[in-house]
């Protein structure tokens, strides 16, 4: 290991010995790629021909007027191929996998978004692909599983632990320690052992680089605040990194407040006081854990933010007060989503809607001269089961019941 990958006290690579050579190889490949101008060129070329980079910036004309405060801009990662910023990371790691001459990729997924992105990348690059997904999430997110399987990926339902994201990560590591020779583990966020946090942030930095330039082009100045939701932290790192050198730009990370502060049912590691520093899943950061260090159950309306840990780089930036952390509760998030759909025709993912909720709240107290920028990390149209449940749509339930009856009859008759 050339560099232990610490950000003040956070980060590191707490990995089983058997993976040490694999991480060495990965770090070397990553560092060489970073040094190789052509790699980034190839990456941008791929993202602009296979996905639609640069993604645009959209101004929320109606809501800016309605709220009557800051002028609100949105970075449109939802327009990426497969519907979220996850595409940036997987395509980058896909190129790296090719560079390392590996032929198989594995990944964990919670919401399913990263699983679909990885399966897509694997189809595009011709890799074999296995996706680990908590059995609980497999149930919640069948549409994503369906598409992963159509892409040729094997989706393994993880029945261990809480059957959600963290268990899928553990399981992916278990696969990797067996198959490291031909397999690359495409970690989905800016977490995990070094070099993942830094490498994933690097691929996602394309968001921030574009956004800064676009805001300057569009408004002639920098936004006053930049909002991003924080699950593992990759979309936040992506957009924030464009503004790290701009001290006047306030960066706001929005975590899953779930049922609220003190409820014990949330996934706010930095905004609330329930988390403490620990080491798990290969890295040191703030975790929602008990005093023994056992990870706790988390809750969020959005599967993609429902995670016990957080990027070590963000933990560092939190302590260094370079990023402010807030949490948005489930009800405010659903409200912000519905408001954005209703008045702007944009469908932010429930994850992204956390950033919208906080931005709307703060915009009110700001001046119309101020611009703010929200990272719309993904679109919700694939999460219709979750969204329909979140807004309690009775017609949706009827539709599902009718559809099920039709399937049942079909079974009977043939």
């Amino acid at each position: 290991m050339k560099n232990s990958g610490y950000y003040s006290q956070f980060g590191g690579a707490f990995i089983p010995e058997i993976l040490v050579p694999t991480f060495d190889e990965l770090e070397t490949a990553y560092l060489e790629a970073r040094d190789d101008e052509n790699f980034w060129k190839e990456y941008l070329e791929l993202m602009s021909t296979y996905s639609c980079r640069a993604t645009p910036i959209t101004r929320l004309d109606n809501l800016s007027a309605q709220i009557g405060g800051a002028s609100i801009y949105v970075k449109r990662e939802d327009l990426n191929h497969t519907g979220a910023h996850k595409a940036n990371n997987v395509m980058g790691q896909g190129l790296l996998t090719k560079r390392m001459k590996k032929t198989r990729v594995i990944a964990e997924t919670g919401a399913g978004q990263h699983g679909v992105a990885t399966a897509t990348m694997a189809a595009k690059f011709g890799f074999d692909c296995t996706i680990y997904m908590g059995a609980h999430d497999v149930k919640r997110q069948r549409p994503n599983v369906f598409w992963m399987e159509q892409m040729g990926a094997t989706v393994v339902a993880v029945t261990e632990g809480s059957q959600t994201l963290k268990d899928a990560i553990n399981e992916a590591f278990r696969d990797w320690v067996t198959n490291m020779d031909d397999t690359h583990y495409v970690l989905g966020t800016a977490c995990g052992p070094h070099p993942f946090p830094e490498m994933v942030s690097w691929f996602q930095s394309v968001i921030g680089t574009e956004a800064r330039e676009q805001m300057l082009d569009r408004t002639g100045k920098l936004p006053k605040r930049v909002y991003a939701c924080v699950g593992g932290g990759s979309n936040a790192m992506g957009i924030f990194s464009g503004f790290f050198d701009d001290k006047e730009v306030e960066l706001v990370g929005v975590e899953a407040g779930g049922r609220g502060r003190g409820s014990g049912e949330h996934a706010a590691r930095l905004a609330y006081d329930d988390a403490s520093i620990g080491v798990a899943q290969g890295y040191k950061t703030f975790f929602l854990q008990d005093r023994d260090g056992q990870m706790q159950d988390t809750h969020s309306v959005s599967a993609g933010l429902d995670y016990v840990g957080v990027s070590p780089i963000l933990s560092h930036l939190h302590e260094a007060k370079q990023v402010r952390f807030e949490a948005a509760t489930d009800d405010k998030v659903v409200e912000a989503m519905q408001r954005t759909v209703r008045h702007e025709g944009l469908i932010p993912a429930l994850e992204s809607s956390h950033a919208f909720a906080q931005a709307y709240k703060e915009a009110e107290t700001m001046s119309p001269e101020d611009d703010i920028l929200i990272n719309m990390s993904g679109r919700a149209d694939k999460d219709i089961f979750t969204v329909a449940d979140a807004v309690h749509d009775p017609k949706w339930k009827e539709f599902i019941i009718d559809k099920a009856d039709a399937y049942r009859r079909e079974k009977h008759n043939g």
């Binding site: 010995e17 050579p21 067996t178 798990a280």
Partner: protein, 260 residues
């Protein structure tokens, strides 16, 4: 770490004078219950086990396979705490005259405070620790504390480990080297082949410590294969599998077949 000889290493070398190969077994503390653990240890010691790994359960046992994974989860679900694990370990070291090691993940140490954890190990008679997610580069505090307390930090060799790294790991270890016989997590099969023989001789060449070999050992035949090639045969998941299938009472007969 300079090469002090730990009590653990001494005990192993002494036991080896009498036996071709030693047997190390593994239990997860609190699974299926602390009482059952006590009974199983008793049976194992009586059956002739030479040393034991006591795993303090952790919610994210990244390097463990399905059997031990489930044991961890069940122990926690039944309410097992680190405090209870310490209490049980203390009782075991007092009652049974074989070396005991802790096996657990780094967060357990970290949350207790690494120094406090190690000092308490010392206090209750634990002779060494295996922390599979703590490479030496990340564990200086731990290594220092273990060294100060004259406890054995055991590290792992794998078929993927290059020889220079084996020597580095050896330099940071005490007690013995835990050599895994194949890639993958605990509890899966290994083909005991000539390839394995070559690998084990490489392991031997790169350590001055006794060599334990684990992952996949499940029969007298497997143990016999290791005779002359290693100092300790480690039986991990298989004991738990037997216990789950045949009850706690099935453990002793199983161990007896191994040491026969």
């Amino acid at each position: 770490m300079d090469k002090h000889q730990t009590t653990l290493e001494q005990s192993i070398r002494k036991a080896r004078e009498k036996k071709d190969i030693l047997l190390m077994t593994h239990i997860v503390l609190g699974y299926p219950s602390f009482d059952d653990c006590l009974r199983m240890v008793e049976d194992m010691v009586n059956a002739g086990v030479d040393l034991m790994e006591l795993q303090i359960p952790f919610s994210e046992p990244m390097a463990d396979g399905p059997v031990i994974l489930k044991a961890n989860a069940e122990a926690l679900k039944a309410g097992a705490t680190v405090e209870q694990s310490f209490e049980m370990a203390e009782r075991l070291t007092k009652e049974f005259d074989i070396p005991f090691l802790f096996m657990t993940y780094y967060n357990i140490l970290f949350c207790q405070g690494v120094t406090e954890f190690v000092e308490r190990c010392k206090a209750i008679g634990i002779q060494g620790c295996i922390v599979p997610d703590l490479p030496p580069a990340e564990g200086q505090d731990y290594l220092d504390a273990m060294h100060r307390c004259k406890l054995a930090p055991v590290h792992i060799f794998t078929p993927n480990t290059p020889e220079p790294r084996m020597r580095f790991l050896n330099d940071n270890s005490a007690g013995f080297i835990y050599s895994v016989a194949r890639k993958g997590v605990t509890g899966k099969d290994t083909a005991f082949s000539s390839e394995l023989e070559t690998y084990l001789s490489t392991c031997k060449q790169n350590t001055s410590l006794p060599l334990a070999v684990g992952f996949g050992v499940k029969s007298a035949e497997d143990v016999n294969f290791l005779r002359g090639k290693a100092d300790i045969a480690v039986v991990g998941s298989e004991t738990i599998r037997v216990m789950e299938k045949e009850g706690v009472a099935g453990v002793r007969p199983f161990i007896e077949t191994l040491v026969a």
